[in-house]
C-alpha cells in the first residue's frame, strides 16, 4: 500500500482505563483519536473502585486527571453511547461505521449542572453503585463523569417533561434520534474490558437469595466514600456493621463446573485490599478470607499479603467452601467449608464473593463485527510473542479483554497497543491532528489591571441561593474592576463570544469568572481569553457553586456574602496575575535503549519502525538476554528461535545502532536532551531512555545442596539439560519458592510456578512413567496459565504442599538425594529420593540496575528492581520525565508481559520523541538569584529532581540554585521550603496567595478598626 493511503487516526473502542491510556498516548504523539464508548460516560470499571492495591490509593483520585485530560484533549474525539456496526478495509486504512444512540440531551448545551436529575420524579437503581443506590431516569453515571452530560434512560422515562422544564440551558431533546457515523482510521485498538461473573450461577453461595451475600464489586461500592453508606461498612439487610466478614475466593474462576477453568488473576489481591479497607473503616471488623491458593504474584503483592496478616490481623483459611446458608432470623450466614479434609462451619454477618472476570457481554459481537478471533474461553485471541495483536492485522487489543489482568498490566498493554497502532501508520503521523491558531498576545505588562468579572447563575444552581445580581454589583465596586456582568450560564458558547467582545470593548486585561470549579472549567475560559488575545494565565476563577451555593442551600444571605468574599479574593489575586510563557525545550529525537533482551529489542525495533534512530546498548557480547536460556515456553512456542529472529531484525535495521559488549558509564541531561557516555568512550545524544536491563535467576549457593550434589540444579539449568537430553534418572522433585517469599526477598517471583509446570509437563511428555513431585506453598499459575497446572496434574505430577514456615529438608546420603517434607494436607512427613532436585529459584535484579539508577536519579525498590512513577497508572514511567522501564528490570514477569512493557515504553517515549520541542508547564518554580544563597534546603523537596545547587556564574565563590524547567511540575513544594524567599511559583506566587488571604479577611480587619 502506498504511504499516502495510510490514515493518521486511530479508533479506540472502549473507554475504561485501558482505552484512556491508549488514546492519550496516541493523541500526544501526533495521531487523531476517536474514542468510542458504549456507555454515556468513559471511565469503565476502575471508576467504580474505592481503592487500589497494593498502595491503597484512592482510585478516583488517581484516575480523574486522566479522565479530564482525555475529555479536553483537542485531538481526542469522544463518541459515547455508541456501537460499532462494521469495519471495512485493511491495516492502515479502515472505514468504521456505527451508531450513536440518542442521549435525548444535546451534549453541546448540557452543562452537567444536574438540575434535571434533582427534579426528575422517576427513581431507579443506580448501575454505577451496583444497584445499592438510587438514580433518576435522567442521569449521569457518576459525579466526576467525562463527558459530564446527562442522558435519559429510555426504558424508565415516562416523558413527563419536567427535566425539559427545569433545564435552563434548553438541552433536553426528547425527539433526538440516534445518529450514524462513518470514520476512516489507520489502526484500531479494542479495549472493551470485562464483565463480572454472575454469582447466581453458583447457587450454593446464595447470591441473589440472601441479602447479605454480596459480590466483590458491590462490596467495593459499599466501602467507597461515594457509595451508598458513605464508606461505613454496613450490610444490606439491616444496615448493621458486620462484625465478621467472610471473603470467598474463586467464585466463577478455576471452576470447570461453570466452564471457567482459568484463574481471574486479580481476585486474591482485591479481596486482601477490600479486607484491609474494611478493617481500616471499622476497627472491630474481623475479615476472614477463604481461598485455595493465595496468588499474590505481582510487584510488592506478597508484602501486602504479609501486612494483611501481620499488621491488620486478617485471617486466611485455605479451604474449599461447600455452601452458604442464611439464618432467616438474624440474616447471618453460616459458611460450611472443608479445611485439611475436615468439614467445619462458621457464622458471618456478611459474605463477599470474589467474583471472577469473564469476557465482556459483547465480545462475540465485537469479534464478528471487527473480524478477529476469540480464544476457547471467549477472550480475545493473542499470541505468545504478540500480546497486543488480534488475528486481524491493524486491529490491536489491550486490557482484560485478552486475558484477566490487573490495572498496571492493563495500562502497560494499553500503551503497548498504542505503540503498535502507531507503528502501522507511522508515516501518517501528524497528518490529521490540528493545532489551534490564536491571535497575537497583547502585552499587558505595563498596563494597570483592568478586570472583567463574569458571575454565573448556572441556571438556578447558583442563582437559586446566591443573589447573583448583588454579587455582580459588588464586583463592580472593587478596585480595578472595570466591567462586571451576570450570565445564565457563563460556560455557554454565546457567553464565550460575549467575554471576547467585552475584553475588546473595555480593554480588559484580566478576566475573573465566578461560577463552578476551575478543575473542570478553567481550561475553557483560558482558551476563550486566549482567543481574545490575552495570555491564558491572566484568568482567575471563583468557585461560588460547588463550594458555595450547593453547600449552603439554606443560608442564602451567608452564601451571598461568601460569594462576594470569593469574588473579592479572586479579584485580589487577579490584580497581581502576570502573563506566563510556556517555555519550550528542544528535543533530540533519538532514543537510547539499555539492555538487549527481549523487551529491549522489541522496544528498539518498534521505535525504529516509527522512524526513530535508536541506540541499543547491551553489556553481553550477544543480544538475547534470558530468553536464550529459557528453551521452553508453556505455550509450546520456541523462545530461542524467537529471540534469534529478533536479533537478526535488530542487526539489519538501519535505524538501530547496536553496541554489544558495552556498558553505560554515565548519563547526563534531562528529557529531550540526554547525553550518554559508554565505558568504551562513545558518546550518544538522545531524547529518551528505556531501561530494559533485565534480571537474573537466583543461584542458591549452599541451599538444598545446590552446588554440592550434581543432581541439584535450578529450573533454568534443568531445562537446559532437558533440551540437551542430558537429564538422568526417572524421579524428579521440584521445590518452589527458593529465594522468594522469604526474609530478605519477601516477594513472589511470579514465573517459577508456571516454569515448573512447563518443565514437569515436558518430562512427562518425554517419559510418561517418570515420577515428578512438586513441593509448593501456593501454585500461582494465574490467568490462562491455570491450564498448565491442570495439565500437569492430569499427566500424573504429584503436588505436595508444605507450610509457609516449614521448608523441606534435603540430605546427601552417599550421593543420593533425600528430601523430607511435611505434607500440610495430611500432616504426615513424606520422604522422596529423587534423581534430580530442581530448585525453582527466584528472580534477582541485574547488577546494571543499581549502577544506572543514580545516573538517571530514578529510584529502585529495596529488592533492587526499578520503581516506577506510580504502581497503578504509570507502570513504565518514572517521575523523571523521558526515562522509562520495561521487562524484568521492573520486576519478574513472563515474556508476553515483557514484550507488552517494551512496547509500552515505546508509546510513552514517542510522546516525547514525536515532537521537535516540548512545552513546559507555565506554572513552574522560578528563582530570584539575588536572594538565593545556595543553601540547598529546597533540593530534597523536589520529587522530580528539577533542582540542583550549582556554582553561581557571576560569583565563583557563591552557590546558587538551578531550576530545570523541563522537569518542574509546578507543585510549589520547594517554594514553601525556601528560607530566603528566593523561590516563587508562577501563577501561585506568595504575593498572589497573600493577597487572597488578605482579601478573605479584609472585613475582619475593617470591623476591628471600626470597633477600635
Amino acid at each position: 500500500m502506498a504511504t499516502s493511503d495510510k490514515i493518521g487516526a486511530v479508533m479506540v473502542v472502549g473507554g475504561g482505563i485501558s482505552g484512556l491510556q491508549s488514546a492519550l498516548d496516541l493523541a500526544d504523539s501526533g495521531f487523531k483519536v476517536y474514542l468510542v464508548e458504549k456507555q454515556p460516560s468513559i471511565g469503565g470499571t476502575m471508576a467504580q473502585l474505592d481503592k487500589t492495591f497494593p498502595t491503597n490509593d484512592c482510585a478516583m483520585c488517581i484516575m480523574a486527571p486522566k479522565l479530564v485530560a482525555t475529555g479536553r484533549h483537542h485531538n481526542i474525539e469522544l463518541i459515547t453511547n455508541a456501537d460499532i456496526a462494521k469495519v471495512d478495509g485493511q491495516e492502515g486504512n479502515f472505514t468504521v461505521t456505527g451508531t450513536q444512540r440518542a442521549l435525548r440531551v444535546d451534549a453541546s448545551k448540557c452543562t452537567g449542572c444536574g438540575s434535571c436529575a434533582q427534579k426528575c420524579p422517576i427513581e431507579t437503581t443506580d448501575e454505577y453503585n451496583e444497584n445499592t443506590k438510587v438514580r433518576k431516569a435522567i442521569f449521569v453515571k457518576y459525579p466526576q463523569a467525562v463527558p459530564l452530560v446527562y442522558s435519559i434512560d429510555q426504558e424508565k422515562c415516562i416523558g413527563c417533561g419536567i427535566c425539559a422544564e427545569e433545564c435552563k440551558a434548553e438541552a433536553v431533546e426528547y425527539d433526538q434520534k440516534e445518529s450514524g457515523f462513518e470514520i476512516k482510521v489507520g489502526s484500531i485498538i479494542v479495549s472493551p474490558g470485562f464483565d463480572e461473573f454472575d454469582a447466581r450461577l453458583k447457587a450454593e453461595y446464595g447470591y441473589g437469595v440472601y441479602q447479605n451475600v454480596v459480590s466483590s464489586i458491590e462490596f467495593e461500592r459499599i466501602l467507597s466514600a461515594t457509595g451508598p453508606y458513605f464508606g461505613t461498612v454496613m450490610r444490606p439487610s439491616d444496615g448493621d456493621i458486620p462484625e465478621k466478614i467472610a471473603f470467598i475466593q474463586c467464585v466463577g474462576s478455576r471452576d470447570e463446573k461453570v466452564g471457567n477453568e482459568y484463574c481471574s488473576g486479580v481476585c486474591c489481591m482485591y479481596s486482601i485490599k477490600e479486607a484491609i479497607i474494611a478493617k481500616e473503616h471499622g476497627g472491630n471488623i474481623k475479615p476472614k478470607i477463604f481461598f485455595m491458593d493465595m496468588r499474590a504474584f505481582g510487584k510488592e503483592f506478597e508484602e501486602y499479603y504479609n501486612r494483611a496478616q501481620n499488621e491488620y490481623g486478617i485471617e486466611f483459611v485455605r479451604s474449599r467452601i461447600a455452601s452458604v446458608f442464611e439464618d432467616p432470623k438474624t440474616k447471618n450466614l453460616v459458611v460450611k467449608y472443608v479445611e485439611k479434609g475436615e468439614p467445619k462451619e462458621e457464622e458471618f454477618g456478611l459474605v463477599v464473593l470474589a467474583v471472577g472476570l469473564t469476557p465482556p457481554e459483547d465480545a462475540e459481537t465485537l469479534s464478528k463485527v471487527m473480524k478477529f478471533g476469540l480464544n476457547d474461553d471467549g477472550f480475545c485471541q493473542t499470541g505468545a510473542f504478540t500480546p497486543v495483536s488480534t488475528s486481524r492485522p491493524g486491529v490491536f487489543v489491550s486490557g482484560a479483554f485478552s486475558s484477566p489482568k490487573d490495572i498496571p498490566m492493563t495500562v502497560a498493554e494499553a500503551s503497548g497497543a498504542a505503540a503498535k497502532a502507531a507503528s502501522a501508520i507511522a508515516s501518517a503521523r501528524g497528518t490529521l491532528v490540528t493545532k489551534k491558531e490564536y491571535p497575537a498576545e497583547i502585552d499587558v505588562s505595563e498596563q494597570e489591571a483592568r478586570i472583567g468579572v463574569f458571575v454565573c447563575h448556572c441556571g438556578i444552581n447558583i442563582g437559586g441561593v446566591v443573589k447573583v445580581p448583588s454579587v455582580a454589583e459588588y464586583a463592580r465596586s472593587l478596585p480595578n474592576v472595570v466591567y462586571a456582568e451576570e450570565n445564565l450560564y457563563t460556560c455557554s458558547q454565546d457567553t464565550q463570544e460575549k467575554i471576547k467582545q467585552m475584553v475588546k470593548e473595555h480593554n480588559l486585561n484580566r478576566v475573573v469568572v465566578a461560577s463552578c470549579t476551575p478543575r473542570t472549567h478553567e481550561p475553557l475560559f483560558q482558551n476563550t481569553i486566549k482567543e481574545a488575545g490575552l495570555n491564558p494565565y491572566l484568568f482567575e476563577m471563583a468557585n461560588i457553586r460547588d463550594q458555595c451555593s450547593w453547600i449552603h442551600l439554606h443560608e442564602a444571605a451567608a452564601a451571598t456574602k461568601k460569594a462576594k468574599d470569593l469574588v473579592r479574593m479572586a479579584v485580589a489575586k487577579s490584580r497581581l496575575l502576570e502573563s506566563l510563557e510556556n517555555l519550550t525545550i528542544d528535543v533530540n529525537q533519538q532514543a537510547l535503549v539499555v539492555g538487549g533482551g527481549a523487551s529491549g529489542m522489541v522496544a528498539a525495533l518498534e521505535l525504529a519502525k516509527q522512524g526513530v534512530k535508536v541506540h541499543l546498548v547491551e553489556k553481553e557480547k550477544e543480544l538475547g538476554g534470558n530468553l536464550l536460556k529459557l528453551h521452553y515456553l508453556p505455550s509450546g512456542d520456541d523462545p530461542v528461535e524467537y529471540v534469534q529472529s529478533l536479533s537478526k531484525e535488530v542487526a539489519s535495521n538501519q535505524n538501530i545502532t547496536v553496541y554489544t559488549g558495552k556498558k553505560v558509564k554515565s548519563i547526563d541531561g534531562y528529557v529531550g536532551n540526554f547525553k550518554t557516555t559508554l565505558e568504551s568512550g562513545e558518546e550518544i545524544e538522545h531524547g529518551t531512555v528505556i531501561l530494559a536491563v533485565g534480571a537474573q535467576e537466583y543461584k542458591p549457593e549452599g541451599e538444598f545442596l545446590y552446588g554440592k550434589n550434581p543432581g541439584v540444579m535450578t529450573l533454568l539449568e534443568f531445562k537446559d539439560k532437558l533440551k540437551k537430553g542430558e537429564v538422568k534418572g526417572n524421579t524428579h522433585a521440584f521445590i518452589q519458592c527458593v529465594g522468594s517469599r522469604e526474609e530478605g526477598h519477601p516477594n513472589c517471583s511470579r514465573v517459577c510456578c508456571t516454569g515448573t509446570m512447563t518443565a514437569a509437563i515436558k518430562v512427562k511428555e518425554k517419559n510418561p512413567d517418570a515420577k515428578v513431585f512438586v513441593l509448593y506453598r501456593d501454585i500461582r499459575t494465574y490467568g490462562f496459565r491455570e491450564k498448565y497446572y491442570k495439565d500437569a496434574a492430569e499427566k500424573g505430577v504429584t503436588f505436595i504442599r508444605f507450610d509457609d514456615g516449614t521448608k523441606p529438608t534435603v540430605e546427601d546420603k552417599g550421593g543420593k538425594i533425600e528430601v523430607r517434607v511435611t505434607d500440610e494436607d495430611t500432616g504426615k512427613e513424606v520422604l522422596l529420593t529423587p534423581d534430580n532436585l530442581v530448585l525453582a529459584t527466584g528472580t534477582r535484579p541485574s547488577e546494571g540496575s543499581e549502577e544506572l539508577a543514580p545516573m538517571l536519579k530514578v529510584p529502585i525498590t529495596k529488592e533492587g528492581f526499578f520503581l516506577e512513577a506510580h504502581m497503578k497508572l504509570r507502570p513504565v514511567d518514572f517521575a523523571t520525565e523521558g526515562v522509562y522501564v520495561a521487562g524484568l528490570a521492573h520486576g519478574p514477569k513472563f515474556l508476553d508481559e515483557s514484550i507488552g512493557q517494551g512496547l509500552a515504553a515505546v508509546a510513552r517515549a514517542m510522546t516525547v520523541l514525536s515532537k521537535e520541542t516540548l512545552e513546559a508547564e507555565g506554572i513552574v518554580a522560578s528563582l530570584d538569584e539575588t536572594l538565593c544563597d545556595g543553601c540547598g534546603i529546597c533540593v530534597p523537596t523536589c520529587e522530580y529532581k528539577a533542582l540542583e545547587i550549582v556554582p553561581d556564574k557571576k560569583d565563583e565563590e557563591k552557590k546558587t540554585l538551578d531550576i530545570n524547567i523541563g522537569l518542574c511540575k509546578g507543585c510549589g513544594a520547594c517554594v514553601g521550603s525556601c528560607p530566603s524567599g528566593a523561590l516563587t511559583q508562577m501563577g501561585f506566587s506568595d504575593e498572589q496567595i497573600v493577597a487572597m488571604i488578605d482579601a478573605a479577611l479584609e472585613e475582619t480587619v475593617k470591623n476591628q478598626e471600626v470597633k477600635q
Binding site: 470549579t517 513544594a973 511559583q985 477600635q1012
Partner: protein, 153 residues
Amino acid sequence: MSSATPNAQSQEKAEGDDFVPKIIVFCCNWCSYAGADLAGVSRLQMPPHFRVIRVMCSARVDPEFVLRAIQKGADGVLVAGCHPADCHYIGGNYRTRRRIALLRMLLQQFGYDPDRLRLEWISAGEGEKFQKTMVDFTKTIEEIGASPMRGGD
C-alpha cells in the same frame, strides 16, 4: 473593648452568640479541592464561614501564609491535602505534615490555641469527609472563640 493580649486564653472566648468565625482553608488542587467540589456536587451542607484558597500541592502552603492569615484576624486555618500515599506530586504532603506540626508548636508559643490550625487529608472521593471536617472545625473554632487579633471579646 479590653486590649486582648494573645496569651490571654480566657479572653479568647467570644461573648454572646454573634461570633461569626472566619476560617481560611488551603486545599491542594488534586485531592482536597476536588473533595470540596464533590461535597458540593453531593449537596452536603455545612457552615458558610470558611473561604477556600486553592494551591497546587499542600506542600506549597508556606508557614508565612498561615501566620499571615492569623495576623489578619483569621480565627482558624485548615490545610487540606491528599492522603499521604495519594499525593499527585509523589511525596509533597509528607512535608506538609512536618510543617504543620511545627507551626502548631509555634502558635502555642505565641499564646494561640494550636487547635486553630488543623491539617486534614481529604481525597477527591471524600466529599463527606470535607463536610464533616468543616462542621467539626467550625465548631472547634466557635468553642475556642474569636482570634485575639480580632480583639476576641
